[in-house]
């Protein structure tokens, strides 16, 4: 009896753990594809304000929003646990962005504290 049940039990436990560990990954993939990671920017008081609106249903632990330029400058903002509906904001003085032609915006963190993940947007050809 135990011999017949052993493979079913181990598979069932494995499947349950996989479902539990796979859910944050699934939620992150689905929500981020449906606009859950919304990056916006505005210019206020001679500052470039970059806002990450986090709309994914699982938290992003150790979240870091970072902007680097081709001139070697870097700005970052972090949150130990970015929850759904929260925002991460970066404020960069426009004077610091003179002569910049290319910027890289990266978002890094750990999905539900399980999977380390990163997203990087490179934008070139910036003028003025």
């Amino acid at each position: 009896m135990a011999r017949a049940l052993l493979p079913f039990l181990s598979t069932a436990v494995g499947m349950l753990l996989l479902l539990q560990a796979g859910y944050p990954l699934y939620a992150f993939a689905v929500d981020s594809m449906n606009g859950g990671l919304n990056v916006m920017y505005t210019i206020e008081d001679n500052k470039l304000v970059v806002i990450l609106e986090y709309g994914v249903r699982v938290p992003l632990k150790e979240a870091v929003l970072k902007l680097t330029t081709d001139t070697g400058k870097e700005w970052s903002s972090s949150d130990p646990s970015l929850e759904p509906g929260e925002k991460l904001v970066l404020e960069i003085p426009l004077s610091e962005l003179e002569d910049v032609e290319e910027v890289t915006l990266s978002i890094e963190g750990s999905i539900a504290g399980i999977y380390k993940a990163g997203l990087q947007i490179n934008a070139g050809g910036i003028q003025g």
Partner: protein, 152 residues
């Protein structure tokens, strides 16, 4: 049993195992070289399936282990070869998806911007290895030794 008869018996076992192995191999090719890359490509735009580049050494080794294990059913070599085949299967899956990290690079985000992302899948591999692969290997050996105990 006469030696000639024993040799003929083993040849018959290996021949039938080879036929079943060829069928398994055909299913494997359809699943991993065609169906799985197609599904991943539909789910993750820009993902270049590495499965089609092929892992001939691992795939042929798995096929040979499967045939040998089936032909040697009832001997201690059967669970050893089956376990080795399962471990090679895990190595193949990890090789196809990527070691640790799933990376997608160079997606056109519009306006001249490109997008790259990565996800570290190590926790998933750990669960699959600890709670699915290892118990399966343990079960193969337990089953074999219990079968031997029942015989004697």
């Amino acid at each position: 049993m006469k030696p000639e008869k024993e040799v003929a018996e083993w040849l018959k076992r290996f021949a039938s195992a080879a036929i079943l192995g060829a069928i398994e191999f055909a299913i494997f090719i359809v699943l991993f070289y065609w169906l799985l890359p197609y599904v991943i490509q539909q789910l993750v735009p820009g993902y270049e399936p590495v499965a089609r580049q092929g892992y001939p050494v691992i795939v042929v080794s798995m096929l040979l282990l499967s045939i040998t294990a089936r032909a040697l059913r009832g001997t201690i070599l059967n669970p050893i070869f089956r376990s080795a085949m399962i471990l090679l299967g895990l190595i193949l899956s990890v090789s196809i998806v990527g070691i640790g990290e799933l990376k997608v690079e160079g997606i056109d985000a519009g306006g001249g911007a490109t997008l790259n992302f990565y996800i570290d899948l190590t926790p998933l591999y750990e669960i699959i290895f600890l709670f699915m692969i290892l118990p399966t290997i343990a079960f193969i050996f337990i089953n074999y030794f219990l079968g031997e105990a029942e015989k004697s």
